[in-house]
Symmetry: C2
Subunit: 602 residues, 2 copies
């Protein structure tokens, strides 16, 4: 349909669309007050892609109320309301908003003697309970509701939101809306969102039965089902076995320690806010660890070490605990306990360059297994410190220079696509971040390789050199496939749940055509299980078509159909995901084929 | 040598040897005061196999002081001291012990007006700083030090001990001694101790570099080295893979939860004392889990379940946290965080018998891998509740009867060696305990299979039966190889560190005869590593003999010696643990042979 907007206005005018969004939040509040005159108003700003407004209702709002409000908003828009700014005294404002406690709070906090309000004045007077609407607001707004396309906005959802974002305050009801200048932009955005949702790991995780959250267990603490755990296990064993092959010493250290350990490491002041609280028992003060480094140093320090033992590459699939704010928790991508494929390489200063190179090589090889390429799917960031900020960064200018140069040299010599970023280092040294795009196209740090010259000092990580003298080591912190949780979130979205065979929670579904083929199907299942394959039997009393459809919905790589024909030949009929019917083969032949496919991780 | 004891006294007289031990503690205090006249005396009782006395010294005692004290004690014993009891008034006692604050504290606490003291009166007066010794003591003692064999006791160690065992009090120095009636008994005991130490997992763990403890990490929290972790990993993968083959759903759930979860499960009041403290953050009260059951129930409850899904066997290698008293911590056998091969089988009531049977079969098969046999190395205990104790046990007489009968039936029908024990059940139902002897010959509960009718009620664990009705399930709790830590402790002692090939941290040591064979040795190492074998290279500049001896000390199953002869034939010379030289073979042949041995776990 045609857009009823003044065609002289450019559609991509950022200011204009922001004014539209902000004005819509006023119109929404106006509509809400028509239905619930006693509702209390919080704040209502324009946001990316739309707007919201926070309300306090006497009774909770229902999802179906949104349509009602939206309809009323369209009606108000068509009234050609003018948005008129007025400066009034605080005294007058207090009188005007005497029934609006949140507005009164804001008036009190605002500087100066006057405040500005915006009045929406209906152009066509109408027999309505309330004529127009006034809100405490510094603007700007559209001049008239005529500038708003009533088909280019949409109310989307209800959410709880604390007044001023603080958990100490009352929880209000937030109504979100989308809004654009044109209906086309709205439709495009909604479609893009639907596409993103289709691959959203939280939605797929539920649909494919990979993990759940439970209110009584706690926020940000996923519970993995049998299927989700199968993926975790594959990833965990892959990385452990590969790292061992590459000369890492895989160890196992406790998830907690005395708080003294983190005071000594210097982590405590920097990470205190996201660390779990101290647990006092008997003579000890224990705390869940936010990182693994100081535990690993204890293993190094258990004996005097010689230069012959370096590089000493300690690795662990280590659980780490950080108390993220509940608003920041996102499925598996942001959790309160994660399992990092972590490592600390204790080496001589002149071994650091080679070790960093090897660490980057491992990261690239692992990413390669998932089809990710340097320069295409990810790039490198050289994250530097700030010598002027000795509060945030350990003060040792020479050490920073040396370390930054080592990292820069590695990146230059491998011709890696990289950029430099100031003020992104760790407190103990500079790092290389592997920046990867997530499924929404946003670049995030997936893995890091860090140079640390502070840990060795704090913990006296020394070795006897070939000349017999005691020398200080350096530490390279690095991950290889990052946190298992986050990597899983990433892979679920990347594959949209259709995992490669080796990662598939169920690799083969065996489907007997009818009840009388169930016995044979069970024999096949046993054979597959004996070969350590993950299988399921679909012997429900359903039509073949329905059983196939359901297995396909679960994105299972191979379906084996068995009936009279297969029984007489001792084989199976294979249906391959996306490729469809692949004909009949002998069972052993099928097993050999897919075992090869699993081994090759294709 | 001949014993200088009145031969008319029986050597195994328990009272007599106790009197000897107690008298030795007085003589030790007497000796200590001769060297440190200002030492303050705590208490000094007889204990199993010996005695101790607690002292407060101005300067810490050294290990080498023990010999000095022991010599002085022998001297005092030979003086034929008489032990004479006297009753005196508290007033007199206070005067007598005016310089001994701990004795004064005891006098104050004792009931009545009089107290008893023991005086040791030297029979031969001697020009010594102190003549005799007097201690607050109710006895009894030997009549004369003549009854004590000066060669049948031995001071063994120094330890810290809080006054009256309370951490709130001052730490005193405790001196321990062994004492027996005869020298032969002392020597036998010392020898037995040395034998036990040789296989003590704490000592072997250090010698074989398997794990460490660190003061700054905390008590009861082991850190596993690369080698210890290899053993853990083998055990973990073994049990996970085997359980999956047997139809278990392996899951992964968080190590902590809101305390509400354990209040709901009913664990909180029962286990509160050994649970870690609650961590309050934001709106949540979190706690480290002491067990896994309620987490697993959440996964079951994620969907409505049908009878077709039962038995629903959830398993996990689950970390669990219990705060054991520091005095009870013992290497890996008693820790503050352990990883249990745990499972909860949610099933129909009439499936319970079969599930218990299968669980016992799994336990037996796993124990069999370690060469342990039912009736020889372990037996079963049917642990019953007590219907009269409704505080300790959930009140439901009918349910107890039913469950106890199911367990009894299983044990009877499998002709298992078992005995019944009252008042040993869990609060939620009876159980079968697998009782195994530890290396010291003491019987302990290694694994359990528990019947639970309380959990299903508390969590409404129901299923839709074939008739469409909702029915309550029962839960079988069981372990398969118990806690990995404890099982490791057990296996280290059982094998005395000489693990079977599949469990060995290092499976093959490659030893080049001289420097010029190092290159070839490295090729062999690479080949072995490519076959996922755990290997080490001994290319230090040492004699061949020394390198072999050191590898043998580490109890490595296979040593491969390579020199000119092996290079020219492309093979290796094999030395097998305990069997010695096994001749020269082709490298590939050796690899095939030991891969087979690993697979068969022989």
């Amino acid at each position: 349909m045609a857009e009823n907007i003044d065609p002289s206005l450019p559609s991509d005018d950022g200011v204009r669309v922001k004014n539209i969004r902000h004005s819509l939040s006023h119109i929404m509040a106006q509509a809400v007050l028509e239905f619930w005159p006693k509702a209390k108003l919080g704040m209502g700003p324009a946001i990316e892609n739309g707007f919201y407004y926070d309300f306090q209702f006497a009774k909770p709002l229902q999802e179906q109320d949104l349509q009602k409000i939206e309809n009323k908003m369209k009606e108000l828009i068509l009234q050609d309301q003018k948005f008129i700014k007025k400066d009034i005294t605080k005294l007058a404002a207090k009188k005007l908003f005497k029934d609006q406690p949140y507005k009164l709070e804001l008036i009190k906090e605002l500087p100066g003697k006057n405040v500005s309000v915006y009045e929406s004045e209906p152009a066509f007077a109408k027999a309505s309970a309330r004529q127009g609407f006034v809100d405490l607001c510094k603007g700007p707004h559209v001049k008239s509701s005529k500038e708003i396309n009533p088909n280019a906005f949409k109310l989307t959802k209800l959410a709880g939101a604390y007044w001023k974002g603080s958990e100490k305050n009352k929880m209000l009801t937030r109504i979100y809306g989308l809004a654009f200048a044109t209906e086309r932009e709205l439709l495009d955005y909604v479609k893009m969102q639907e596409e993103a949702e289709k691959r959203d790991h939280r939605i797929l995780g539920k649909k494919l039965d990979l993990f759940i959250f439970s209110d009584i267990v706690g926020k940000g603490l996923p519970l993995y089902t049998e299927k989700g755990t199968a993926i975790r296990r594959e990833l965990e064993r892959l990385i452990v076995d590969e790292e061992i092959k590459r000369g890492y010493k895989h160890v196992c250290t406790p998830d907690l320690a005395k708080v003294d350990l983190f005071k000594k490491s210097g982590h405590y002041p920097y990470y205190k806010d996201t660390m779990y609280p101290v647990m006092k028992v008997d003579e000890e003060e224990l705390i869940l660890r936010p990182m693994t480094c100081p535990h690993h140093y204890q293993l190094y320090l258990a004996k005097p070490r010689s230069y012959r033992e370096l590089p000493f590459r300690i690795a662990e699939l280590a659980k780490q605990y950080r108390y993220e704010k509940s608003g920041e928790l996102t499925g598996l991508a942001r959790v309160r306990c994660f399992c990092l494929a972590d490592s600390h390489i204790i080496c001589q200063k002149d071994q650091a360059e080679n070790e960093i190179n090897l660490a980057l090589k491992l990261i690239e090889d692992m990413a390669g297994i998932f089809g990710l390429k340097s320069g295409v799917d990810y790039r490198y960031r050289l994250s530097l410190g700030d010598k002027k900020d000795s509060k945030k960064y350990y003060k040792d200018d020479k050490a920073w220079d040396f370390a930054e140069n080592v990292l820069r040299k590695v990146l230059k010599e491998k011709n890696a696509p990289f950029f430099e970023a100031e003020n992104e280092a760790a407190f103990y040294g500079p790092k290389i971040d592997i920046q990867m795009k997530n499924s929404a196209g946003k670049e995030e740090t997936a893995f890091t390789v860090q140079y640390d010259f502070v840990g060795p000092k704090r913990f006296e990580l020394v070795y006897a050199d070939s000349d017999g003298k005691s020398k200080e080591a350096v530490v390279i912190h690095r991950s290889s496939i990052g946190a298992i949780e986050r990597t899983m979130a990433f892979l679920i979205e990347k594959y949209e749940g259709a995992f490669p065979l080796w990662l598939s929670p169920i690799q083969v579904s065996v489907i007997p055509i009818s009840e009388k083929h169930a016995e044979y199907a069970k024999e096949i299942i046993k054979k597959l299980k004996d070969n350590n394959l993950r299988v399921e039997l679909r012997d429900e009393n359903e039509t073949l078509g329905k059983k196939i459809r359901e297995a396909e919905m679960q994105k299972i790589p191979y379906l084996l159909i068995v009936g009279d024909k297969e029984i007489s030949s001792g084989g199976v009929s294979v249906r391959q995901r996306t490729k469809g019917d692949a004909g009949q083969v002998q069972t052993d032949e099928f097993i050999e084929k897919i075992k090869k496919e699993i081994k090759e991780k294709t």
